[in-house]
């Protein structure tokens, strides 16, 4: 969503972007002999380099000038390359991934809640809050927003548009790395993880609103809750269809998403 706003980049490899950093960490531990915290840091740095800088320079920059559709197809190809690359050079089997927090439970008001879940919620909220603060309260963040709203005018005003777009790619890389480190202890690290995560992220962004950060958050929460309530209290067999029904309903009745802004373009 960030990438779309700043550079009209639709990334269909986003799920694989979440899958990959976990393997950077595992590789750093296995081949580099690093401790888990050090490997996390290495994983984050490699993600910034590969999924941020190199993705922009080697894939987006040369292809985007030919239009959005070639880029969409390229990211689909990139997703396959990343999946098969992990399968070929690391493992086809699921890999255990250490948790950033022990698998203990805490009791809150009589309800037993996993400490790991609380940490995930806390980190996710912290990351969103930090991102919102960065975009709204810092000079660089406002320059990034200006770039997203009108790159041409931003350039006229002296904003280094190219650098702002690069920053967006780096922020995206940092966020996918964070998501990877949080979700892999539960789902295990596997080369196919991106398929599910990518679809869920895409549907959540459309449902919530493709041009609003808070829209994506609401879309994600709504999707997760509907999916789990349907599976637990109605039918587990049809759970995979529910997000798609939600997607169709939103596209039909509120195409800009639940919290999204309607946009008009000159054609």
């Amino acid at each position: 969503m960030l990438l779309w706003q700043t550079s009209q980049t639709i990334n269909f490899a986003q799920g694989e972007f979440v899958m990959l950093p976990a393997f950077f960490v595992l590789a750093a531990m296995k081949f580099g002999g690093l401790s888990f915290p050090a490997a996390l840091l290495v994983g984050l740095l490699v993600a910034l380099l590969v999924l941020g800088l190199l993705f922009k320079r080697l894939v987006v920059d040369p292809i985007l000038r030919h239009g959005v559709l070639p880029l969409v197809i390229s990211t689909l190809g990139l997703a396959i390359l990343m999946k098969e690359g992990v399968k070929e050079f690391y493992a086809a089997e699921a890999q255990g991934f250490p948790g950033v927090w022990p698998t203990t439970n805490v009791s809150i008001g009589g309800a037993v809640i996993s400490a790991q879940s609380l940490v995930i919620i806390g980190v996710a909220l912290g990351a969103v809050g930090l991102l919102q603060w960065f975009l709204g309260a810092t000079r660089t963040g406002r320059q990034m927003q200006a770039t997203a709203q009108n790159p041409m005018l931003a350039r006229v005003l002296g904003i280094p548009v190219d650098r702002m777009i690069l920053y967006t790619f780096l922020v995206n890389a940092a966020l996918v790395a964070l998501a990877s480190f949080l979700v892999s202890p539960i789902y295990l690290a596997k080369f196919t993880n991106g398929e599910l995560l990518g679809l869920a992220a895409f549907v959540a962004a459309i449902v919530g609103g493709f041009n609003q950060v808070r829209g994506a958050i609401v879309g994600g929460l709504l999707l997760g809750m509907v999916d789990n309530f349907v599976a637990a209290y109605w039918s587990a067999q049809y759970r995979a269809a529910i997000p798609l029904f939600l997607l169709i309903a939103v596209i039909l009745w509120r195409p800009q998403g639940l919290l999204g802004r309607a946009e008009e373009r000159t054609v």
């Binding site: 089997e93 439970n105 996993s114």
Partner: protein
């Protein structure tokens, strides 16, 4: 021109000599896809046995040639891979492990009259009148009655919540287990179907918890077992978790970490069996592959030695005769050390041998009780 002809002739002679010195036993197995955990264990066990046999001169003086092909855990691809293997005139075929694949491809091996040694456990595989299919581990009709005795007498449960994977393996196990429970008047209070490759089990665990059963039975493939155990810990499930083979396999223990502690159940094969030959195998396997094998590693390993022993008994390479000899054959470790434990194949290709009740303690299977062969 003459030199070229002589060269080609020499190459042909060398190729024929090479072909005569080997016996072709291809491995068709799950190297990727949701069955990769099982398949790679089976493959590694088989390759280790093949290297050992070849180092000692092979079978009847011929070394084993065993290329590995990947089914991708896809029944359609597995069928194509078995057809490809059959095109090379194999003596026998090793694999696959996944029941859904075996049900599809074993018909090809049967038609070609080539014995197939599988790691699959679905009950119906050996009940379809195929004279060329041989198990390397218990079928569900052998393992589930043992599990039912454990549920009734071991943990004395009056009700069970059952979570299973909706494929041939899961459905076969569910059907046999439910019949065994009905015989013993034990109630199934939750019957939860899940999908192969499923990653999110939060809703399924909610259902398991709300069933208030005396025990929770997990019957899915390895990766899903590990995810279920992790989710069960997240939701603070206190009900005893039990299972048959997969949920207590070493691979699941490795993936699930400390969330597997305390899980109990029945296994046909375990690397932690209190048998010196199995422990020596485990040490060699671990030294070679840097991981602890699960039951599938032992399946692949013993399958090779079963073929070796039966062939040496035959004194010739004859696929049809091998299949015939396997019916009713008992191999003892004194006769063939690589078989690890005494094993008997019946007329349908089912295997019988001792088995184990285990509990996960400190990241390993701890054998609680050794159960005798059913035939004894």
């Amino acid at each position: 021109m003459k030199a070229h002809l002589i060269g080609a002739l020499a190459a042909s002679i060398a190729f024929c000599a090479q072909a005569q010195q080997t016996v072709f036993i291809p491995i068709v197995i799950e190297v990727s896809g949701s069955g990769a955990v099982s398949g790679t264990n089976f493959r590694d066990g088989a390759l280790m046995a093949i290297d050992e046999v070849n180092a000692k001169g092979g079978i009847l003086g011929r070394k084993i040639n065993a290329p590995v092909s990947d089914t991708q855990t896809n029944p359609g691809i597995s069928r194509a891979q078995v057809q490809k293997a059959l095109d090379g005139n194999p003596y026998a075929i090793l694999g696959p492990v996944f029941s859904g694949s075996v049900k599809v491809n074993m018909l090809l091996a049967q038609a070609a009259e080539i014995p197939q040694f599988t790691g699959a456990e679905a009950a119906e595989i050996t009940q379809m009148g195929n004279d060329y299919i041989f198990r390397t581990s218990f079928g569900q009709q052998m393992s589930m009655p043992k599990m039912a005795v454990f549920v009734a007498d071991g943990i004395k449960a009056k009700s069970v919540a059952f979570l299973w994977v909706n494929n041939d393996y899961g459905k076969g196990g569910r059907d046999v287990f439910f019949k065994e429970m009905a015989k013993r008047n034990i109630k199934i209070v939750a019957d939860i179907s899940t999908e192969a490759g499923q990653v999110d089990f939060a809703a399924d665990i909610v259902k398991l918890k709300s069933a208030n059963a005396d025990a929770i039975f997990i019957y899915t493939n390895e990766e899903e077992c590990a995810r279920v155990l992790r989710e069960a810990r997240k939701q603070a499930v206190k009900t005893p978790i039990i299972g048959e083979t997969n949920v207590i396999s070493q691979k699941v223990i490795d993936l699930a970490g400390d969330t597997a502690e305390g899980v109990r159940g029945h296994v046909g094969l375990t690397a932690d069996a209190p048998i010196p030959a199995v422990q020596a195998f485990t040490d060699r396997f671990q030294k070679r592959y840097k991981y602890v094998p699960d039951h599938n590693g032992i399946k692949g390993y013993t399958a090779v030695y079963a073929i070796k022993h039966a062939t040496e008994k035959l004194g010739k390479f004859d696929s049809k005769a091998l299949a015939k000899l396997m019916k009713g054959l008992t191999i003892k470790p004194e006769q063939e050390p690589g078989i690890l434990m005494e094993a008997t194949w019946d007329a349908k290709g089912d295997i019988d041998r001792i088995s184990f009740l285990v509990e996960v303690v400190k990241g390993r299977q701890k054998v609680v009780e050794v159960l005798p062969k059913l035939g004894k």
